[in-house]
Symmetry: none
């Protein structure tokens, strides 16, 4: 009975192509290997997202990735290892820096709406990953923690830092600020992912709804 993170024999060491380039020895081979691993990860996330983890067969994944079924076990020690690798791959991937892309807005309200927009966008872009990981998070607390770190608290601190710049937030405790940041994330999750993806709502409509709720919140009673 192994826990989520202690992947005993896993050789998942992401094996980035460029690290192979360092040594002149057989770079082709290593590039192939890394390419196949990526192909498997991509195939797996795509199939897990649209069929579900259990309903996807390793045969399908291998076929979709264009390589042999046995590689799933060699590289990732099985189907479940592939799922772990998907998560770790996402965790390892450089999180796109909010601050580098979105300059601070002029006012608290604008900033709030801007952050919401950013979240809506991110959630939509991550939808395949979320479709895979949410069902797992509902089953396995360990996965939930990872999701929490990666998916939810990801920008939380960054958002808190940004909000601190506004006078409206001066009077808020740190706890309240975190609550606020989480709320923005929640709006993003609910209207950027859940409604369009799970509930089949039109995405544009969901976005309007999100702004609607945000505006009510900002205007106050």
């Amino acid at each position: 009975m192994k826990s989520f993170n202690q992947s005993r024999k896993s050789k998942i060491t992401p094996q980035h192509p460029r690290s192979a380039a360092r040594s002149g020895v057989r770079p082709k081979r290593r590039r192939d290997r890394a390419a196949k691993q990526q192909a498997l990860l991509a195939a797996a996330i795509k199939l897990f997202a649209c069929r579900g983890y259990e309903a996807t067969t390793t045969r399908e994944i291998a076929a979709c990735a264009g390589c042999a079924e046995g590689l799933i076990h060699r590289y990732f020690t099985g189907k479940e290892g592939l799922l772990l690798a998907i998560i770790q791959d996402r965790v390892a991937r450089e999180v796109v820096d909010l601050n580098a892309h979105v300059p601070l807005a002029q006012s608290f309200s604008l900033e709030f709406l801007q952050l919401l927009e950013w979240e809506l966008q991110r959630m939509w872009e991550d939808r395949d990953f979320l479709r895979v990981i949410i069902p797992r998070a509902l089953l396995d607390p360990e996965v939930g923690k990872v999701l929490s770190r990666v998916g939810t608290s990801r920008h939380a601190d960054a958002i808190v830092e940004r909000l601190k710049h506004f006078k409206e937030c001066r009077s808020l405790t740190l706890d309240e600020l975190h609550g606020l940041a989480r709320f923005i994330g929640l709006l993003g999750f609910g209207f950027g992912f859940l409604r369009p993806v799970a509930l089949g709502q039109d995405r544009a409509r969901a976005r309007v709804m999100a702004r609607h709720v945000a505006e009510i919140f900002l205007r106050g009673v």
Copy 2:
């Protein structure tokens, strides 16, 4: 590579009817269709919630319900039918009447907080159902529609009606009132279900966060 969920394969102790669990005594089969159906539904939702739909076997469900496997097929025409029955059962069940249980508060603020509390509570109580249905909704658009009706717009109208009683809401359009209801519902879902259940956050802490956000809103930003 073992399972994520450490209890995935744990034996379910057969829940034999009543206290006739004394060893050696065959449980004297009874004819109680309604009771068996309920037992199966209860066992199924419990197991689906903690192991996932696919990973739960009909054998386990029957054992947990204390009846024969064949009944799943007789009553619900199979495992999938059992899932549908769980959903329909929930849909059909008279939604516990908000108004009958929670008297209107004295002020808008108190009412708002009270409704939030109610939602947090409801989401927590429904957590098993949500754990089952959310993963399905991510795979099957049809299920998504049901979840939309049941899970999201459930109390929306009732909440709107209640809010109308307060002078603070007089100036709001119906759309805005619905936005307000959605706001409460989202807080309930996010902090009453998602955070404690999926992300493993302490429930009390999640509740505090929800109140923080509500208070900021009520106080005005």
Copy 3:
């Protein structure tokens, strides 16, 4: 492991309605019982013939006979007992007397053709029974013996007796006469049953073929 005939607990005693009429006690009840038994036998032979023994469910038989599934077990001690009962029922049934229906022909040739015609007819009429029993006979030697007694040697002796009347047969040994009788039966079986039923050949055509072969045989080389 029980043999074919020792039906230990079977109460298959054909229970003819008229034997019930003898005693004035509850004749209705007994008629019902006998009627249900006959209905079950009829339903079973029909379904066994068109779906096969294994592919027919006791549920179907009961439904087709218009009575409860449990009766199959009460009356015939199960599905297999029903099959035995079908066979015994057929064995017990008074064999239609060849001599009473078909007067001796004027010549050997006419007699031969007349007997062939009779066999073709009998086989066709018995086709449902044959469809049931032949597959069983191929599996179980005991059934084969019954079939042999009932189906093949049935008229053999009668036929031999009739053939003895013709001068053409004077020179034949008893063994040869039996061979001849079996040959007539074989023609009947092949062209009266197997070809139309198993090989899907047009019945009229099969009959013509049979006569053709018979004529060649009679004409000699």
Copy 4:
């Protein structure tokens, strides 16, 4: 109520590859697709013949063939596919050439008896196949057609060609020649297969009967 066929449920001793039957030694799985396919076909025809198609389990077939159950589905797409494969295999197999094995006899009479002998022999050799296919033909018209082609008209043409060499047949029409061939085939089927296999008659006795009929025919009635 036990089964008709006393050996119905007897365990089939797993026929592990070669003499590696020494206990404890895992049979060192080999890749020999063609051999495994043949082993499965052989096991299936044997078991189908003695237990019947429905009563034979895929588990038994695999055990008897000394390979894994899954292969039945991989190679033949299931139990039914295995049955079809048995039929196709038989159809495809080059019919042992009558002419290559049996030289034309000196006279018509000798040729007739020789052909009869050949048919009796062939039917006996094909008995397992016939035991499998006849019950199927009684259920499925499609199978009937195959049986018709393979089992009945198989040598008809070859026989007709051979008979043409004899002066006794000069005066016969083609139709009559085919009648003659059918006569021989029917004797072969009836006395070479049906009587010994289905009716449990001694094989030698059945053969004598067949010769009696043939001799009567040859001698002229």
